[in-house]
Subunit: 171 residues, 2 copies
Amino acid sequence: MAGGGGGGGGPAARAVLQRCVRASLQVKPADELSEARFVQIDRGMVIYICFFKGATEDILPKMVSTLLNLRLCESDSGKMVSVLELPGSLLIIPQATLGGKAKGRGMQYHSNISKEDGLRLYSAFVALCEKELTAAAAAAGSQVTMKHGTYGNRQVLKLDTNGPYTHLMEF
Amino acid sequence: MAGGGGGGGGPAARAVLQRCVRASLQVKPADELSEARFVQIDRGMVIYICFFKGATEDILPKMVSTLLNLRLCESDSGKMVSVLELPGSLLIIPQATLGGKAKGRGMQYHSNISKEDGLRLYSAFVALCEKELTAAAAAAGSQVTMKHGTYGNRQVLKLDTNGPYTHLMEF
């Protein structure tokens, strides 16, 4: 994995990638006035993402380029292609728990970025992914979807896979 | 994270943990003679597990104890408890892709344990988890389920979460 830009020699960002044939995520819980709202994608990739202290926007272009160009998806003919080449849909899920370290029986999140900086980086990450995926889909003449979770919300997720093919990437 | 016993200073094992309210995994694909077979759990935890070169059975007792005693689950009253305390069900999924490293746009798995050694460790890991969970459930007078995937198979997974609450642990 690439060397990190985070403090203390650790990574600046951590991502877990899973393939899906369908995924849905609650982006707004139900309240007295309205039902819960969900976003959904079909075939493509789910990216769970967490930023650490010391992460800056500088890392985003390389990070997005790496994640979206890795050959982790399977084409109809069984060839390994990237989500951009497929082209597949993308669901991005902010997942601060990925930054946890065990201390005794509990988890601590002391290395995680602050909420304000995390939201800023997360939003920029989502915008960059959207730009890349939209361009790839337009070039391929395909329709794909990019959806994302809400920073700070509980991420109620349903995932349907043909093999999650889970990968870890650090930057 | 705990210091690893693997070769080259890396970890000996990597686990990704997710909470679920239901999860089902195909353990045998359909063939001409029979339909696909699935295992299913309700509320509990999914453990994706990967062993690296140099991993030995010595690491398993501490690893299982750590994973099953971490307070990653939510009780009915909203308190954080371990899967043993809940007690919840457990789905263990062998996931060799977790050992991947990006090389250019492809993934390489050179640090992964051999298939034979991996199967042996995976089987011992599953047996230890089953022993701990069964003892905890008996002590609590509860019924819980432990299921696991088949080493070497494609892990067709459906995951239904109330927040995946994804954590990474290395040993």
